[in-house]
Structure formats: C-alpha cells, structure tokens
C-alpha cells in the first residue's frame, strides 16, 4: 500500500497526564472495559518517535537523493610516480567502475607540439574487463592512439590492482627522461 501523505493518529480520549485509552477484551471478544495507559518509566534515552516527522524526513531524504551525484566515499584518488624504467602498482582494494589517470606531463609534452590541454587515460569497467583508452580533450583519439606503450594499463582482481607500465613507447615520439608525477582517481 502506498501512503502519499503520512498523518498522525489524533486520539480524543487522553487523560491530562497523557495516558491514552485502550479497550480490553476477553478471548470471546467481549469488552472488559477501558484502561488508560502511558509509559511508566523515565527513559534513559527519549528515543525517536515513530510519527509523521520521521516518515516525512525519510521521504524528503529519498526524494532528494541524487543518483547522479557521487559521494566522496565512493571515490579514491591519489598521486603516484609513473616510472621511466619500471612498472608501478596501485592497489585500490575495491573493484572500480571507472579509473582516470592523468598527468601534467601529458599536457606539457603532448601539448607543446599540438596545443592540447589535458590528456588522461580512462579505464571503464565493462564486464569486469578494464580497457585503457587514451583520451585528449582537444584532439581525437587517433592522436594519442598513435602512441603504443609496451604494456597496456590494466586493472585487475577484486583488490583493484592497477598496473602502470614503464614510460616507454614502442611507437610515437613521446619520451620522458625521468619519472613523472601522475594522478589517479577511481570510482567505486
């Protein structure tokens, strides 16, 4: 049953001390008269009344839920050293739905010659298979896809291990003379 508008019961038979009237019956359904009852103890904790206020607040919370809004608890982000000569491992401890890796180095190196701005690798979870795409905000995928790394960037396992290969390309002309600082952000 769907209740659109919660209202509280408003009794008329309540004593001045707050006792509410109840009717007693025997097992045959015959009335044994009325009794007035109220809680007799002083609670250590007043407690939350189960009433219109409570249900309305829940309704408001549910109504205001924004399913497009990502909670910060659903995001892990950090910085790592993308090494020139060896691979790097990042452990998320959860299976991400999306991982984005970017670095200023992409911008300065790739951008110097082509005027691009921000570049990033985006890996989306499609059936628990993470595919590393190259992405450039100013240029098409073809531009970055012209660089082929020796190994792919991958995410694997329940712990969300991100494998970052060495900064070494087998085609293209992007080279780094040293480790670079990169950022990652992973969404649950």
């Amino acid at each position: 049953m769907k209740v659109n508008n919660v209202v509280d019961r408003v009794p008329t038979e309540v004593l001045s001390n707050g006792a509410v009237r109840w009717e007693q019956f025997d097992s045959s359904g015959n009335s044994l008269g009325y009794v007035y009852m109220k809680r007799a103890d002083e609670p250590a904790v007043a407690g939350t009344p189960i009433n219109k206020v409570l249900f309305d607040s829940i309704k408001t919370d549910l109504t205001n839920l924004d399913y497009n809004k990502v909670s910060t608890s659903d995001i892990v982000r950090g910085t790592f050293a993308w090494k020139k000569d060896s691979s790097t491992t990042l452990t998320l401890n959860f299976v991400p739905s999306l991982v984005i890796i970017n670095s200023d180095w992409f911008e300065s190196t790739l951008g110097q010659t082509e005027g691009s701005s921000i570049s990033a690798f985006i890996m989306s979870n499609v059936g628990n298979v993470f595919k590393a795409h190259t992405y450039n905000s100013s240029y098409s995928l073809e531009y970055l896809s012209s660089y082929t790394y020796k190994e792919p960037i991958t995410v694997s396992g329940a712990r969300g291990i991100i494998h970052i290969p060495a900064l070494e390309v087998v085609t293209g002309s992007v080279y780094s003379l040293s480790d670079i600082s990169a950022n990652y952000i992973a969404f649950k």
């Binding site: 509280d8 408003v10 009794p11 509410v20 939350t48 009433n51």
Partner: protein, 154 residues
C-alpha cells in the same frame, strides 16, 4: 502563557457593563475597582489579544515541529492598553486561528469575522486554540517510539 478563556457568559458581560456604569457615575466601590482593574471576563482588552497572539504563535510552532505546514503566521504579541486594533488586524488575528484549524483539526468553528465582538465569538476563538492544543498533546501522547513496537504488532 496565560490560560485560554472560553467560558465567558452573558453574566460576565452584564457584570462588566454594570461596573463600567458605576465607574462612569463615580459610584464604584474600592472592592469593585480592584475587580474592574484585574480584567473582567466580560470585557475584551489588549491582554485578551496578546493571549490569542501568543497562543497562535505557539500552536503554529507546535504544528511545524510535528511535521505539519510551516504556516508563517504574522503575530503581534506586545499590544498595550492605548493601542486599538484595526479591523484589518482583528481579521489577521481571526485568520491566523483559521489557518491553524485548517492545518490540523478542531471541533469548534472559527467565527466568520470579529466585527462587533461578542462573548460567544471571543469564546469560540480561544476554544478553537484550546482544542488544537489538546489534540496536538493527545497526538504526542500516543506516539510510539523506536524499538517499542515491531511491524505488524499493533
């Protein structure tokens, strides 16, 4: 807040008229003067208006606290003897009580207007507020609290 008054009678009105006449003629006794000064139930004074305004504000707050509409009623709770409410202000006072009744429930009807105030109108106005207060308190008394009952028990 002062207790609501909703038991004014024609006798109260007659008594007020009698004492008023005596005061005008200068025949009022010292004892009657004390009675007159203490506020007669058969008269309608700034103290009555302040009482209704204060109670209206309180009931509106109670309703809002317990999940009903935020009525945002306008009240003036500092009337003084030398002030006389205009018909518009009396209408506002009357409409405030009507809004409170509409937002909740009461058995007594709000007077349709407060023109030519009578003791019955004065009684009804405060009787509505008293019923609202009683019924809101009844409602609060019947709340169950978390962990007292389980689904399907009552």
């Amino acid at each position: 807040m002062d207790d609501l008054i909703y038991d004014r009678t024609q006798e109260d009105v007659d008594r007020a008229i009698e004492l008023n006449d005596k005061y005008s003629r200068g025949t009022i006794t010292a004892q009657e003067l004390v009675e007159w000064d203490n506020g007669l139930k058969g008269t309608y004074n700034y103290t009555d208006i302040n009482r209704i305004e204060q109670w209206s504000q309180y009931i509106a707050q109670q309703l809002y606290t317990y999940g009903y509409l935020n009525l945002n009623i306008t009240v003036k709770t500092n009337w003084i003897m030398s002030e006389f409410p205009t018909s518009l202000e009396m209408k506002r006072i009357r409409d405030n009580v009507q809004k409170l009744k509409n937002a909740f429930i009461s058995f007594t009807q709000v007077p349709s207007n407060l023109e030519k105030m009578t003791y019955q109108k004065a009684n009804d106005l405060e009787k509505v507020i008293n019923e609202l207060n009683t019924l809101i308190n009844n409602m609060i008394a019947s709340f169950y609290y978390s962990n007292e009952v389980y689904s399907g028990e009552v």
